[in-house]
């Protein structure tokens, strides 16, 4: 308290830029957005268009919209699968590149590079792979000929479309998560492995009983990052599938791979209802906070068991 007092002005002076930036780009827009979600604002110059206060009407409308509810379900499925796949792949890669592999630094770099490519470009690249390259392989290689048939295109059906999104998402993100695991694995003391080795523990036993518990902290971080990122997925979704193909849900035709972020975008900018988009964004925020809190507390408990 004393030290804080003595350095008061300097303390605030140094904090001011960060505080101000945080206020201007996070807190203020969030509050304005929350306010707009209670109005009927649509950002056009239509005659008679104001932004009247309508209370929770937009929330009610959103919760009755089949497309929004469907997006919630499909996004949850996508997130669970994506978190599992990314972390599974990342741990496997991390174990591989921390072993005595030759050229392991080259591999590390190679696995990491996809993360540096923007999601939009990546989506178009993979769209080409799924729509053109894969059928071409099917046409050229006899026993894979089923791949060449148009009805087997990954992006022409909803379940395989979601799998395609997961493949691209993992390809992009697993290298980054791998780096976190690499740092954690390299922090595990060598003596533990030596002792276990002398006791006759197998590779799997050493991995299961030493590596996994010792990197539990890394799991908290990576699970959080992958969970939040999967839930907020937009760019790959936008460029790879654009929400297609369509499917039926609650008696209406809607886009079958439209994740939440894209549904919000379409509501606001295609559907021309910014207030409803805001309302959905607020709901999205609340759900994401709840998911993350549960995830972090579960992971933290695992850490304490050590």
């Amino acid at each position: 308290m004393n030290r804080f007092h003595r350095n008061g002005p300097t303390f605030w002076l140094f904090l001011a830029p960060v505080l101000l930036a945080f206020l201007m780009v996070i807190v203020v827009p969030f509050l304005i957005g929350s306010y707009y979600s209670l109005t009927d604002w649509n950002a056009t110059a239509r005659i008679g268009q104001g932004n009247a206060f309508v209370g929770l009407a937009k929330y009610g409308e959103s919760l009755k919209d089949p497309a929004f509810l469907y997006s919630f379900i499909i996004t949850t499925i996508y997130t669970v699968a994506n978190v599992a796949v990314i972390n599974g792949v990342a741990v496997a890669l991390a174990v591989a590149v921390t072993s005595n592999l030759r050229l392991r630094n080259v591999y590390r770099m190679g696995f990491f590079i996809p993360y540096l490519i923007g999601g939009l470009i990546l989506g178009y690249l993979w769209q080409f792979i799924f729509n053109n390259a894969v059928p071409a392989i099917g046409g050229a290689v006899g026993f894979l000929s089923r791949l060449g048939e148009p009805e087997n295109l990954m992006l022409s059906r909803v379940p395989t479309g979601i799998i395609a999104l997961i493949m691209v998402g993992s390809w992009q993100y697993a290298g980054y998560i791998m780096m976190i695991y690499v740092a954690a694995i390299e922090g595990v003391p060598e003596e533990l492995y030596e002792a276990a080795h002398i006791d006759g523990a197998s590779h799997w036993q050493r991995f299961r009983n030493i590596t996994i518990p010792m990197i539990a902290q890394a799991f908290t971080i990576t699970m959080f990052l992958t969970l939040v990122n999967s839930f907020k997925q937009f760019d790959v979704n936008f460029s790879l599938t654009s929400g297609g193909p369509a499917t039926s849900f609650m008696g209406e035709s809607i886009f079958g791979t439209e994740l939440l972020a894209m549904n919000i975008y379409n509501t606001a900018f295609v559907g021309n209802d910014l207030a409803a988009g805001q309302a959905r964004a607020v709901l999205f925020f609340l759900v994401l906070v709840a998911f993350s809190l549960v995830q972090v507390s579960v992971n933290k408990r695992k850490e304490l068991e050590l």
Partner: protein, 418 residues
Amino acid sequence: MKKAVIIALALLIVGGALFAGGAGESGAGTVTLVQNKPEIDAMLQDYGAAWSEETGIDVTIKSVGGSSGTSMGQQLRADFAADEMPDIFVIAGIEDYREWESLILDLSGEPWVEETSVAFTLDGSVYGFPVAVEGWGMAYNADILEAAGVDPATLTNLEAYRRAFEQIDSMKEELGLSSVVSMAASADMGWVTAHHNFNSLLSNGLPYGDQSVVNELLAGQVDQQRLREYADWVELLFTYADPGILTTGNYDAQVGAFATGQAAFLHQGNWVDPNMDAANAGFEMGFAPHGSMNSDTDGIFVSAPSFYVINSESENIEAAKQFLNDMVFTAAGQRFMVDEAGMIPAYANVERNPKGQLSRSVQSWAAEGKVYSWNQYNFSGEFRDQTLAPIYNQFATGRISKDQFIQSMTAAFESLRG
């Protein structure tokens, strides 16, 4: 006290840095134009630069849109929310007009109004400067049709198309085709199905400007006979399309199949001329009518697709007006519209002709007066993109039958009654 002063000072410094970017954009004599034809962006930029040099007025041109990406409307809503509306922007029709109604300047007295018949007009006042004339029908490869013994002049109804498609389909091998018609219905190609193809239901066979079907549908009344014939037409197109391109292909895949001679027909408009040119498509082509009805429909869909409008709250109205007039009345402006951008001019005083084959086909249909209107813009973008496009997509992927397609379309129109 001293502490408060220091905090205030710190906020001031940082705040000053943050807000410094805001001012300084509204110097007199600049025109900002936002347009939605990315394919002519380079030519328009060049023309704008030359015009600036001539007149001393700065021009900023922003192009948005394309098969995937932000649309005009999305860009404008973002600009409007940020209080950065451009001086000139584009509307496509009455729905767009209503969206920006309080901002759109009345241009009735402008000189170019005398020279065009397709300006955007409402209640006797002119609001929109037609950018060009465009049209679509079924683009055909004349060489393939001749080899298959199909006369494009006979393609005026459902039955004729059915026979022609069957005939060509049976000769696919010898003609080197992968499919009869190049059609796209994937999620980001909703504009081909739920905008262009949809218009066949709205205006095929009706006198130019007739909105009777539109008004009925907007009131939730569906003419089942007309819808059923239309559904037959959609089914016919989907059946003879390449399933890969139909369900997952993008614009390049769709247009490419036609340009490389792998498809006899293409469901697009004359805007594909530059693509044909780029692909060195060496065959003869033209437009045939859409056969969406049992009765004959001898005409294609022709209109001004979009209109430049001037922002009435702009500080540069005079400069913006001059920009539009110069495009019509100066040699450089006419050269830009016709030769460089390859557009069909909407103005009688312009004597140039575009060089693209499909553009010339549109011109000749229009010259004969065999034209049907574009009525799809009477429905909101949301209705077309979010409600209709998924229905077409489900029909294309075979997830719903023709009867379900008809039911879903009917339900969609009935929901408009509101």
